[in-house]
């Protein structure tokens, strides 16, 4: 019984990792496109000290490297958690295997 619980937990972790992998581009989209709106509102206020190009440049490289880092971590974890080559694919939900 304890072993079964252990396996379930692993499958659960793997599925959450896959969720994270799928959500990564969403995080990327938010981070990459957010400045469009912020910068536009900057232009509206006009008078205040606008955020300069160099700051945005730094911002982009920082989020870029951050996204790369997170992806590297998630990808590694995914590869490590995936069952050995050929047995089952990470995509297969455990319940779906019997159906085929």
């Amino acid at each position: 019984m304890a072993k079964r619980l252990f396996l379930e937990r692993r499958t659960y972790r793997r599925n959450r990792l896959q969720d994270a992998a799928r959500l990564l581009p969403v995080l990327g989209i938010v981070l990459i496109f957010a400045p469009i709106f912020i910068r536009d509102s900057d232009a509206v206020t006009g008078g205040g000290p606008a955020t300069g190009l160099s700051q945005w440049l730094v911002y982009y490289f920082v989020i870029w490297i951050g996204l790369i880092g997170i992806t590297a971590l998630v990808s590694r974890a995914l590869v490590r958690s995936s069952p050995d080559a050929g047995a089952t694919t990470p995509e297969d939900p455990p319940a779906g295997k019997g159906a085929r």
Binding site: Q18, A21, R22, L24, P25, L27, G28, I29, I32, F33, I36, F37, R39, D40, G52, L53, S54, W56, L57, V58, Y60, F61, W64, I65, L67, I68, G69, T71, A72, S75, R76, L78, V79, A85, G86, T89, E91, D92, G96, R100
Partner: protein, 894 residues
């Protein structure tokens, strides 16, 4: 500053190095030793062909003109790669499972192997790529001209440079791209050369960046200040363009034929994607890290010239860093060449598979695309395509004359190939997508793109301004590319993007919703969308050792242990690995496949081998081929089975006939001795008595009368024997004349009993009859029928060996026929001889002592056949039993 000739020498040296790397890689891969070739790093580096010379030089120019906008070209692909688990992994898996050779093949396979759709995508790809190749040639010649201002030859050096570069690239691509039609269309030599080029260009741009930040400026913080102060900072940030270009770049990396080639077709191992998912964005980040600093410094330096597109080259050059500039030149050269090589390879595969080969097959009416001859044709088609594509690029470049309009073509080409996106992504995520929808969407998007962007650009590039473009066809202004739908668009690219992709997606979805897909299309749709259920991932070289074992097991099952063992041993010896398992090299696999094909058929063998080595699922077409083969084999084996049954039956019949013949021969010998005895006995007495009569001293009258009677009787006996023989011969030849009349069966039996002498005084045989049953009227030849009955009765007289012989004659009147049975109470006929009793001269062993020639039953049977009835022997436990069958006709006529 380097001389033109020196530069050419460096270039040639560099190209020779690339050839060497490619050659070495091919060699190592053929030996199965090139582990580094299958590393995720090589895979990631090969993806770098995304950054072409256009981005290598142009990114700095773009930064100088539009600030951060150049980042979109890198951020789009970054987003796609961050989500590699979502779309890219699926594409790679499908590409592997379906053995996809190009983006056109992918689309056509998904939509039921549609040839038309593949051709459409191919045309789209060629149109989108040709100007791009021209762009690469332009950037190389431009960078050449920066180095060597005075032309060494009489004519324009830029032209001749472009020709040489194009020719060299064609040669390289042909040599390493079309060596053979591989099992899986992978090109290790080419990929390794590209990986080297990727390192060169990354190193070059990083070197310039480091030089600029730490050599010209005083470190990062000073650099940031300078950026803030430079005119680059003043550029208006266009949010719509930021969004649009990022999306466009993201779409392009999925749809560009060359990206598809390295991403999917050349992928050796699915797990490489997990590395590329973060490593490729990292590569893009590094490539773009110093773009803005270089642009800012370039703008600061008056000596860097006024073309920001060449700042990467002119900044180090103007600061006296010749070595650095040379490195940059090689980086740009690498970027241009690697892109052209892969693009030409990908396009040539598409052109040859989807346009040239179908036309060729239609023209020559060959229907076996796997024959050796067709492979040669395919290779030739590819080589010609590569040359043709490079020639097209060159022609486009020469036509445009290196106009600035070429620079815009990069994004225009992106949008062109992005028309495939709805059909591609829809195809792998949505089972409801249909061929009609895909064709409508791609066709419409393609048309809008060509009309709104390509045509005006070509016209502008060629220096031609059609009134049509300005005012619309036939003066219809809302159709004019300049003002589509009457919109005064500020950004033609974004307008065209929204229009073409919007209409494309809309038609794709609507077309798919209202049409019904063909069965093959639905099947392929399920295979694509649910690819993870139908295939397993391939884990490159870790799986290779296992593969050889699997192959051996499979081969043993089919060819037998000894033959498979010998085959594997000889392959291992040939690979220089005696005593070990052979590596599954293409050569070995081909040989194994051929051997297996001898046992199970070519299609089955191919499917089995690729199932093990490629992780591919079996496609429908292969399945059909396998089914065909199986059906043929089954039909053949059932034919064999039928034949062997037939043979067995014939053999049994022959054995039977042979046994009968042997028995007959024995019987005949017995008969001959019998008949000669039968003939000689009367002849002897006739001769001796006639001799006595001829003697001089005559015997008395009484003796003479006695002798004459003996002679007479014996003559009669001879005549009877000869009559019997004649009678039988006549009956057998069917020349007998029947005298049919109305008769009573009882009377005929009476006659027969009387004639046989069975009721005479001293007759041993008792005859049991049923007179009432015998009262049947017949229409037949009474004499002949009586002859048969006489024969049967006299047989009983002669052969019945019971102490009180008894013959029972019973008559059965059945519907349509009458049967008369003659049964005695003797020991009967031995089973061995039952089959022979009706043969001529046959005499049962029990009848040895009795007189007779053995013709009676044969004659009787012939008579009954003539009368339309039959005479059969009935096997019985005791006694001999014959049945005379009289036909229906005889009864009816009465």
């Amino acid at each position: 500053m380097l001389s033109f000739n020196g530069l050419v020498a460096v270039c040639i040296l560099y190209v020779i190095c690339l050839f060497g790397v490619a050659f070495l890689a091919e060699k190592r891969a053929a030996e199965g030793k090139a582990r580094w070739l299958n590393s995720p790093i090589t895979y990631t580096l090969s993806l770098s062909i995304y950054t072409t010379a256009w981005t290598f030089y142009g990114a700095v120019g773009s930064a100088a003109r539009t600030g951060l906008e150049f980042l979109t070209i890198y951020l789009g692909p970054t987003l796609v790669f961050l989500g590699w688990f979502w779309v890219l992994r699926k594409m790679v898996r499908i590409g592997r499972a379906q053995r996809i050779t190009s983006i056109a093949d992918m689309i056509s396979s998904r939509y039921g192997k549609s040839g038309g759709l593949a051709a459409l995508v191919t045309v789209l790809a060629v149109l989108g790529t040709t100007p791009y190749i021209a762009l690469q040639l332009q950037s190389v010649t431009l960078s050449f001209s920066v180095f060597a201002s005075p032309a060494p030859f009489g004519f324009s050096d830029t032209d001749i440079t472009a020709v040489w570069v194009a020719g060299g690239l064609a040669l390289f691509t042909i040599v390493f791209g079309t060596r053979s039609l591989d099992l899986n269309e992978r090109h290790p030599g080419l990929v390794s050369a590209i990986a080297v080029e990727a390192i060169v260009k990354l190193f070059a741009i990083l070197a310039v960046g480091v030089f600029v930040v730490w050599g010209v400026a005083n470190g990062p913080s000073d650099m940031l200040d300078r950026i803030q102060a430079s005119p680059v900072s003043q550029v208006e940030w266009n949010g719509a363009r930021w969004l649009g270009l990022t999306a466009l770049a993201a779409a392009a990396i999925l749809c560009l034929p060359r990206m598809f080639q390295v991403l999917v077709v050349e992928n050796a191992d699915e797990s490489h994607l997990a590395t590329a998912g973060w490593a490729f964005p990292l590569y893009l980040l590094l490539i773009s890290l110093f773009v803005v600093p270089i642009a800012v410094i370039g703008l600061e330096l008056p000596s860097a010239g006024d073309n920001p597109d060449l700042f990467v080259l002119t900044v180090p050059l103007s600061l006296g860093q010749d070595g650095l500039a040379l490195l940059v030149f090689l980086g740009g050269f690498s970027a241009a060449t690697s892109m052209v090589i892969v693009a030409a390879l990908a396009l040539s595969t598409m052109l040859s598979n989807h346009i040239i080969m179908p036309l060729w097959l239609r023209a020559t009416r060959l229907d076996d695309p796997m024959s050796g001859d067709m492979r040669r044709v395919a290779l030739t088609a590819r080589r010609l395509s590569i040359a043709g594509i490079l020639f097209l690029g060159l022609a486009y470049y020469r036509l445009s004359g290196g106009a600035d309009a070429l620079a815009e073509i990069g994004l225009i080409a992106f949008l062109g190939v992005a028309q495939v996106l709805p059909a591609l992504v829809g195809g792998i995520l949505w089972r409801g997508a249909t061929r009609t929808g895909a064709a409508l969407g791609i066709g419409a998007g393609f048309a809008i793109w060509a009309w709104l962007l390509l045509l005006p650009n070509v016209a502008e590039t060629g220096g031609l301004i059609f009134g049509m473009i300005e005012n619309g066809p036939f003066g219809i202004r809302w159709l004019s590319p300049a003002t589509p739908l009457g919109l005064q668009a500020t950004d033609p690219l974004l307008t065209a993007m929204i229009l073409s992709l919007g209409v494309n997606t809309l038609l794709f979805i609507l077309g798919s919703l209202v049409t019904f897909p063909s069965p093959l299309e639905r099947l392929q749709g399920a295979q694509f969308v649910n690819v993870y259920e139908h295939s397993r991932p391939l884990y490159g070289w870790q799986a290779a050792a296992g593969t050889a074992d699997d192959l051996l097991i499979m081969a043993q099952r089919i060819m037998g242990t000894n033959r498979a063992g010998r085959l594997f041993q000889s392959a291992a010896v040939r690979q220089g690995r005696a005593g070990d398992m052979p590596e599954p090299t293409p050569d070995f696999l081909e040989r194994l496949e051929r051997e297996l094909a001898g046992s199970v058929g070519a299609a089955t063998a191919h499917a089995m081998v690729t199932q093990i080595t490629g992780g591919a699922t079996v496609s429908v077409r292969e399945l059909l081929a396998v089914a065909d083969e199986t059906a043929q084999i089954m039909e053949y084996s059932s034919q064999l089975e039928a034949k062997s049954t037939e043979l067995a039956q014939t053999a049994a019949r022959l054995r039977e006939a042979n046994a009968k013949l042997t028995e007959l021969s024995v019987q005949k010998d017995a008969f001959l001795s019998q008949i000669s005895h039968e003939l000689r006995t009367p002849m002897t007495s006739i001769r001796s008595f006639s001799e006595i009569l001829m003697q001089a001293d005559p015997v008395d009258d009484a003796a003479r009368t006695r002798f004459s009677r003996i002679i007479h009787d014996e003559s009669l006996r001879l005549t009877r024997l000869l009559d019997d023989l004649l009678d039988l011969s006549v009956l057998e030849n069917g020349k007998v004349t029947l005298h049919e009349d109305a008769v009573d069966l009882g009377e005929v039996i009476d006659r027969a009993v009387y004639a046989a002498g069975a009721q005479e005084e001293g007759g041993r045989l008792r005859i049991v009859r049923d007179r009432e049953a015998e009262d049947v009227a017949l229409w037949t030849d009474a004499d002949r029928l009586a002859q048969v009955f006489i024969n049967l009765i006299s047989n009983a007289q002669k052969y019945c060996d019971a102490t009180r012989p008894e013959l029972t004659i019973t008559v059965h009147t059945l519907p349509g026929r009458v049967e008369v049975e003659f049964a005695d109470n003797g020991t009967g006929i031995p089973p061995r001889q039952q089959a022979l009793i009706f043969e001529k001269f046959a005499r049962a062993d029990t009848a040895k002592g009795a007189p007779g020639a053995g013709l009676g039953l044969a004659i009787s049977r012939e008579i009954m056949a003539r009368l339309g009835g039959g005479l059969v022997f009935l096997p019985a436990a005791t006694g001999t039993r014959f049945r005379v069958r009289l036909p229906a006709g005889a009864l009816r006529a009465a």
